[in-house]
């Protein structure tokens, strides 16, 4: 069964189509990342799934219900982490979670939630005294305390330092083991790659890709050889097959090719002749980021945005 069904979803603000004929389904228990540049329609789509906005046309069903008409029972089955932290600062973490837990029919225990979001040591700290990362985890804690079947995470790690992001990721990963369906919007490609088993790319209000991280990566073009070359004397003797791929300022060699065997052989032979250490050599598939950029580039260009 699908936890979320979206068909022909469109939302216009005046003449502006923020979301334009978007359709997808999310099966129970899946963690889906919705990616896209600012203005792609991610938050607008999410707000229609959450029931905050009514679509201009199309249909949305979350747990079989139109979110705009969701009742208390439906709300109790949904968890939300909004784009910005929105907490009353005066109470402690434990008191805040206790207040929110009282709204749900079968909430998780406070201790369980504190464990899930790694805030056990801060339970008695006032929310206003927490760091940005810790507050964000309180947001996540409130989102999951009602034992939601569907959890919406709207850019949950924006503004967090790398360590705080990793901790938030762990909290989300812990949730997926409980069977919760998670819809995550994010600007971080590596976050989507790490957490999601499915990616929906939005650009200019439309779905431009609906695939797995591996599937998107495979659409990113040829494999890549990267290496920084600093030996000026040796560079003068660089094989012609490589010389055209050097960045003049950074001295970085970047070769993209369907078959990297030949340029790699030329590079290794050249390094061997000049007794150079290629310690920084990188050989790999196209990055997810490259694939993402390629995927969103077409709709932006077609609407006249890119030169």
């Amino acid at each position: 069964m699908s936890a979320i069904v979206v068909e022909g979803l469109t939302k216009r603000f005046g003449d502006f189509p923020a979301v334009n004929d978007v359709s997808f389904e999310v099966p129970d228990g899946q963690l889906v990342a919705v990616l896209g540049p600012n203005g792609a329609g991610k938050t607008t789509t999410l707000e229609m799934l959450e029931g905050f906005l009514a679509p201009t046309s199309g249909t949305v069903r979350v747990l079989g219900t139109d979110p705009h008409r969701g009742d208390r029972r439906w709300r109790s089955r949904i968890g939300l982490v909004l784009q910005s932290t929105s907490l009353d600062a005066a109470l402690t973490v434990r008191d805040t979670l206790t207040v929110f837990a009282g709204l749900y029919p079968a909430p998780r225990s406070i201790g369980e939630v504190l464990e899930l979001v790694d805030l056990v040591d801060d339970a008695e700290t006032a929310v206003g005294a927490l760091s940005g990362g810790q507050r964000r985890r309180v947001d996540v804690a409130i989102g999951i305390i009602g034992r939601p079947e569907v959890l919406f995470l709207d850019e949950p790690t924006t503004g967090l330092d790398p360590e705080a992001r990793r901790r938030a990721w762990t909290a989300v990963e812990n949730l997926t083991t409980t069977g919760t369906t998670v819809v995550l919007t994010t600007h971080y490609i590596d976050e989507a790659d790490h957490l999601a088993n499915r990616l929906i790319l939005l650009a200019a209000g439309r779905v431009v890709a609906d695939t797995t991280p591996e599937g998107l990566r495979s659409r990113g073009g040829p494999a890549t050889v990267r290496c920084r070359l600093d030996d000026e004397a040796a560079l003068a003797d660089l094989p012609a097959s490589l010389a055209g791929h050097i960045d003049g300022d950074s001295h970085a060699l970047v070769v993209r090719a369907e078959d990297i065997t030949s340029p790699l052989r030329d590079l290794l032979g050249w390094a061997d002749r000049h007794h150079l250490d290629l310690a920084g050599l990188e050989v790999g598939p196209p990055s997810l980021e490259d694939a993402y950029l390629a995927a969103i580039a077409e709709p932006l260009t077609s609407t006249g945005a890119l030169p």
Binding site: F13, G14, D15, F16, P17, D28, G36, P37, N38, G39, A40, G41, T43, T44, E50, F52, R72, R73, R75, S76, R77, I78, L82, Q83, S84, T85, S86, L87, D88, A90, L91, V99, G102, L103, Y104, P105, A106, G146, R147, P148, E149, E155, T158, T178, G179, T180, H187, Y188, I189, D190, A204, S287, E289, D290, L293, I296, L300, G304, A305, L306
Partner: protein, 285 residues
């Protein structure tokens, strides 16, 4: 799916319990040190400053300053905080929960009534302790009823006004500019010599009837009515009208500046948060 059975079959919490919890929660948030300073400390200081040494302070004076503290809390403190909560997304956060919307709304107003009445009562207690003003039990009970009705009228009207306040920056000036003129022409901070027509208007604003009701209750003498029906009717009318307008116009979402959107997308030069990906800017993701 883990938790599905529990969340679809378990009984939803009773709304009475939710409302009580909400009143308690909101009261704790509202009764901060700053709110107590404004709602109790400020009126008591003014009460002391306005009295000549060794004079016997009348119940009317105490009632006026108690009403000043009560209305400051129910109007200014509450109204500004409500706008701040809306603009910071706190209201949207609550709207996303299974708490009935009316329950949050009413809980917040009732919590304000509790804290504002507490502020007014504390000022009365301070006046009695400082000046030995004699009060009767029936007078205190009637004053408490007037306090509750007055706090409800002011909080309900403040809730209605929040819909017209677009930002946190605009909240303080708006609430203060709509507050002090009413308080001054109503004679709460001392007698004024306003024109007759202005005095007539003040009789139908919520400050003078509240002050008059509390003053007549605290200064009650045998043979006189504890409370004037006219005062109570004016306060009740403000409470009902304020609630009606608030219900019709209340906004849960932060204010979004009006913007001209075109279908032509802008291109940003900024990089995404990770490694690359040029993204066009927009207020909506």
């Amino acid at each position: 799916m883990t938790g599905t059975v529990a969340s679809t079959t378990a009984r939803m919490p009773r709304v009475g319990r939710l409302l009580a919890a909400q009143v308690s929660y909101q009261s704790r948030l509202l009764a901060s040190g700053r709110a107590i300073t404004i709602g109790v400390g400020f009126p008591v200081i003014l009460l002391i400053a306005s009295q000549a040494p060794h004079t016997r302070t009348s119940a009317i004076d105490i009632a006026s300053y108690a009403c000043f503290g009560l209305t400051l809390t129910a109007w200014n403190t509450y109204g500004v905080r409500l706008v701040a909560a809306r603009e910071s997304g706190v209201l949207k956060r609550w709207r996303a929960t299974p708490l009935p919307h009316w329950c949050y709304f009413l809980g917040r107003i009732l919590a304000t009534v509790v804290v504002a009445v507490g502020a007014g009562a504390a000022t009365v207690a301070a006046g009695v302790l400082l000046y030995g003003t004699h009060l009767t039990v029936s007078g205190v009970a009637a004053a408490l009823a007037a306090f509750i009705l007055g706090a409800l009228a002011w909080a309900a009207t403040a809730t209605a006004l929040t819909a017209a306040v677009p930002t946190v920056e605009a909240a303080s000036p708006t609430f203060l500019l709509t507050y002090f003129p009413v308080i001054i022409v109503s004679g709460i901070l001392g007698d004024t010599s306003e024109p007759h027509w202005l005095s007539t208007i003040a009789n139908y604003l919520p400050a003078r009837p509240l002050s008059h009701a509390v003053g007549s209750a605290l200064g009650h003498t045998a043979g006189n009515a504890l409370l004037s029906p006219r005062d109570l009717i004016v306060l009740a009318a403000w409470a009902v009208a304020g609630l009606a307008v608030a219900i019709a116009t209340f906004r849960w979402e932060p204010h979004r500046p009006t913007q001209q959107r075109s279908s032509r997308r802008e291109v940003s030069n900024d990089l995404p948060h990770s490694k690359a990906a040029a993204v066009p800017p927009s207020s909506r993701g």
